[in-house]
């Protein structure tokens, strides 16, 4: 299989050991198969669907497009690291559940991460801005309607 390497990644605030990994492994693969964090999904492995979206040093990226070993020293936040509140849900996650933004749910973690990133940088986007911000996240079930409703609801909650 080629050369195996050991390294550490900082994921959701914790240092995690990656041992004897093939150097060609993507961050997505390492998260899912080595670190027990399958929340980031593998739907295309070429940056065309957004299901594997994570935050790397505060930037929204597709984890399938990141060579895992190159992420050493970066702060990585996955969908598993976003929850808070009493029920372990962020306001955005709660809105996705309440508004029907979830169907099969395969794209959902990626959308949740993207929307967190969006509202972090632009707390009150227009609907068109939301559409552009999530245009890298494909959903095949919802037609995006209830997802947009969820973003709107989360926005309104934050606005108070």
């Amino acid at each position: 299989m080629g050369e195996l390497i050991d390294y550490q990644l900082r994921v959701n605030g914790r240092e995690r050991d990656v041992a004897e990994a093939w150097l060609g492994e993507s961050l997505l693969y390492v998260l899912r198969e080595r670190l027990g964090l399958p929340g980031s999904k593998n739907a295309c492995e070429q940056g065309e669907c957004g299901s594997c979206s994570v935050l790397m040093d505060g930037k929204l990226v597709c984890s399938c497009m990141v060579l895992a070993a190159s992420a050493v020293g970066s702060d990585i936040v996955t969908v598993e690291g976003l929850g808070d509140g009493d029920d372990g849900l962020s306001d955005i996650q709660a809105a996705f559940v309440a508004e029907g933004g979830v169907q099969c749910g395969f794209c959902t973690p990626g959308f949740v991460v993207s929307v967190h990133d969006l509202l972090e940088h632009n707390p009150d986007p227009t609907e068109l801005e939301v559409r552009e911000a999530v245009s890298g996240n494909l959903c095949r079930c919802t037609g995006y309607g209830r997802i947009l409703a969820a973003v709107k609801a989360a926005q309104e909650t934050r606005r108070g």
Binding site: A43, Q46, V79, V97, G100, V102, F106, R140, L148
Partner: protein, 773 residues
């Protein structure tokens, strides 16, 4: 008390939240690709790069030499029947002697690491002798057979009335729809674990556990009970998971190695490894009298079935029986043929034969309206099917048929305000590419109506099984109905809460070992069928609950009811919580629910083959860049015949999601084939609508006329949104451009290179809908 009532909010008719919503938003829901077992191996399939070839030899020796490789299997290793299929087993588990489509499995590998498995598969040497692929379905009908069972997969005639009838006005056309992919987000994946009894446990994303089990047992040469399927999280399906994908192969690898084996398709494999929507070529001739009443419909539909049968028979049946659309037609001659070719196999996808027919019959209705100088909506209203009318199959519509209502409400909804002159730049055709020139963008409006048969028919005994167990005031529902995202899990809880008045409803994990078949999650059938089974099981438990209570309190069971989580008697004497009423007894009932029997069609396509029908209307508004041929869908307005709304939010989700797939087929989605080779098996090149492509959906009306025979009065709602939305969008593009556009998807060149830059006049458009700007 208030908290109990809070939980009881999730009863029928309310927007109960999904029980799997929380784990899904947290990334904790276990999809089939998330499965893990200690010591598991990774499987990988080797697929044919050729659409047609003879296999002279397969040499696996080099693959076996790679460190970490644990098994390599081919057709020789299949322990039982070497073929499988939903209707008839004509598809090889692994090809032997010959490959019939690009992507057909030839061998499979299990190894320690997915990359090792992939490299090992690449190290297998297959000596192919490529042959000329047969890829033209029309030519394949009479060509030399490419399979021992011949090239005609199924031919369905539907003839009624007078074949010689002639109308005063005749319009005809030739229409085409392309091969569409389900493009479900979750790739095919599964985990097989060998059992100590020589059997196997398979965790898999599928649409119908028990039909997989049957097919697998035959191929694995195991008794049914040794092939245990467990539903793993399903990342969307839309028809793609009706046929077997890797089920037999990973179980073979697990049984061979004695270790758990996981396989996850890449996106490319997913495109190559599941069936698609049949491409269709359709010739239509409509006859009408001068008042616009349909006199006769003639149609010939050729469906490209690809290399293997899959569900082509039923797709052909739908396309032929639904050929005229939701209109009353006394005279019809329809022939639909599904043909075997060396293209990728085609089978089930949302809309299942009706999408193709609707595209053609609605274009014909617009043509007819233009020929008659009649408003296209008025023409449709003049011909709508009504309760008591007969279909061209001779079946009398006994259920509800509010076709006129869906049309009227949808057509009456206000059009979106604004237009290309005022739209944001990003909302113009071409979007962020900034290609649009506002003066060269033309708005168009199109309208279409559809009919879809619901559930399995044609004489098939369609049923679902369910168990309800009531213990300490908690209901547990066991049903093998597959949740693919549609929200059956929510509905099952709503039903149990409604019937039993309990707050807590647990859903047992679906599997083949615990309960009988629920049938397939397809054909818009699970709300009716498995919803019906769950309701029936809950009713049976409630009956026992009442008889327990009646005995205990010495009252008549007939006087008891459930109200707000309590068993009460009509005289007010009894008022106790449900969990007390059972008196510590565990109440459990297992039932089967069957729908009304249907009949096979005879040689003229006559017979009561269907159970129920749902109708929908769509109105599309598009902006078209006349010079570049780029289209922006601005708005979709719809009305749908739903019987009864059981969960408003989930219902809207079905409508919006189905429409998105319709918009996709109308303007961008197509599996591009070149001599049988798939040229675009990726999300880079098979494009589906993004949030910037999908317009807002406006629901003009949900027509609630409870359907007789439906356990809760509801009609399945998943497929209709996908059907007429395609036709409506293309009609709108015709309206904007004045072009005939007989093919879906409409490609930019179909508009730009058709002389559209001359600029159309609305008068020449085939769909004379008034434009609002």
């Amino acid at each position: 008390m208030s908290t109990v009532l809070d939980k009881l909010r999730g009863r029928l008719g309310q927007s109960a939240p999904r029980p799997d919503g929380v784990p899904k938003v947290r990334g904790q829901f276990a999809f089939s690709s998330d499965m893990f077992a200690e010591g598991m191996l990774w499987g990988h399939m080797l697929r044919s790069p050729h659409p047609a070839a003879a296999i002279r030899s397969i040499d696996v020796s080099q693959a076996l030499l790679i460190p970490g490789v644990r098994a390599v299997i081919t057709s020789d290793d299949v322990p039982g029947r070497k073929t499988y299929g939903l209707d008839y087993p004509d598809q090889p588990v692994f090809a032997w002697d010959v490959v019939r489509f690009m992507g057909e499995p030839v061998a499979a590998v299990a190894a320690d690491h997915p990359d090792t498995a992939r490299r090992a598969a690449a190290a297998i040497v297959v000596d192919y002798a490529p042959t000329e692929p047969m890829t033209d379905p029309a030519a394949a009908v009479d060509a030399a057979p490419i399979h021992p069972l011949g090239n005609v997969l199924h031919r369905q005639w539907v003839r009624c009335g007078d074949p010689e009838a002639v109308g005063a006005v005749v319009v005809e056309g030739r229409y085409e729809t392309a091969m569409q992919d389900q493009a479900q987000m979750g790739p095919e994946s599964g985990l097989a674990i060998p059992g100590e009894d020589g059997g196997v446990d398979l965790y898999i994303a599928t649409q119908w556990l028990h039909i997989d089990q049957e097919q697998m047992a035959a191929c694995l040469a195991l008794p049914l009970e040794k092939v245990r399927l467990h539903l793993a999280g399903v990342g969307g399906a839309f028809g793609a998971r009706e046929d077997l994908s890797m089920q037999v192969q990973i179980c073979m690898l697990a049984l061979r190695t004695g270790r758990p084996v996981k396989m996850v398709y890449s996106r490319e494999e997913s495109f190559l490894g599941h069936v698609h929507r049949h491409p269709a070529v359709m010739w239509y001739r409509h006859h009408a009298d001068r008042d616009g009443r349909l006199v006769k419909v003639e149609a010939r539909i050729i469906l490209d079935g690809g290399a293997y049968l899959s569900t082509s028979t039923a797709v052909t049946m739908n396309a032929s029986c639904m050929a005229p659309g939701p209109y009353l037609v006394h005279n019809a001659v329809v022939e639909a043929v599904a043909v075997r070719t060396n293209n990728p196999p085609c089978g089930a996808m949302r809309g299942f034969g009706s999408v193709q027919a609707c595209f053609a019959h609605e274009a014909q209705m617009d043509k007819l309206a233009a020929a008659l100088g009649m408003d296209p909506v008025e023409l449709r209203l003049r011909n709508v099917l009504k309760q008591g009318d007969s279909l061209i199959t001779g079946q009398v519509l006994r259920g509800t048929a509010p076709v006129a209502d869906v049309i009227r409400t949808c057509a009456a909804a206000p059009l979106p305000t604004g237009g290309p002159q005022t739209a944001a730049e990003l909302e113009l055709p071409g979007g962020a590419g900034r290609t649009a020139e506002r003066t060269r963008v033309r708005r168009g409006v199109g309208f279409a109506v559809s009919v879809k048969n619901l559930m399995y028919g044609g004489g098939f005994d369609d049923y679902s099984s369910a168990r309800c167990r009531l213990e300490d005031g908690v209901a547990t529902i066991t049903c093998a109905a597959v949740e693919v995202g549609q929200g059956f899990v929510t509905l099952a809880q709503q039903i149990a809460r409604e019937v039993l008045g309990v707050a807590d409803v647990i859903l047992a994990p679906p599997g083949t070992a615990d309960i009988g078949s629920a049938g397939s999650t397809s054909a818009s059938r699970q709300t009716w069928m498995s919803g019906g089974a769950v309701q029936k099981a809950c009713f049976a438990v409630r009956e026992r609950l009442f008889s327990c209570t009646a005995t205990k309190y010495g009252v008549s069971a007939e006087t008891l009811a459930i109200l707000d989580g309590r068993v009460v008697s009509l005289d007010g004497q009894i008022d106790i919580p449900v969990f007390e009423a059972a008196g510590g007894e565990v109440l459990e009932e297992t039932v089967e629910f069957h729908h009304e029997p249907t009949a096979e069609l005879d040689q003229n396509g006559q017979g009561d083959a269907f159970v129920s029908f749902a109708f929908a209307a769509h109105r599309a508004v598009v902006d078209v860049d006349l010079d570049l041929g780029l289209v922006r869908v601005v708005d979709i307005t719809t009305s749908q015949d739903v019987g009864r709304v059981l969960n408003p939010v989930q219902l809207v989700g079905q409508l919006e999601g189905g429409i998105a797939q319709g918009v996709g087929l109308a303007v961008m989605e197509e599996i591009v084939l070149d001599h049988g080779r798939v040229r675009n098996p990726s999300f880079t090149d098979y494009v589906i609508p993004t949030a910037l492509d999908m317009p807002p959906v406006h629901i003009a009306a949900l027509i609630e006329e409870p359907e007789p025979g439906s356990p809760m009065g509801a009609k399945g709602a998943g497929e209709p949104p996908m059907i007429s939305s395609v036709a409506a969008v293309v009609a709108a593009i015709r309206n904007a451009t004045g072009l005939e556009l007989p093919r879906a998807p409409v490609r930019p060149q179909d508009i730009a290179l058709a002389g559209a830059s001359r600029g159309p006049t609305l008068a020449s458009s085939p769909n004379n809908v008034e434009v609002s700007q």
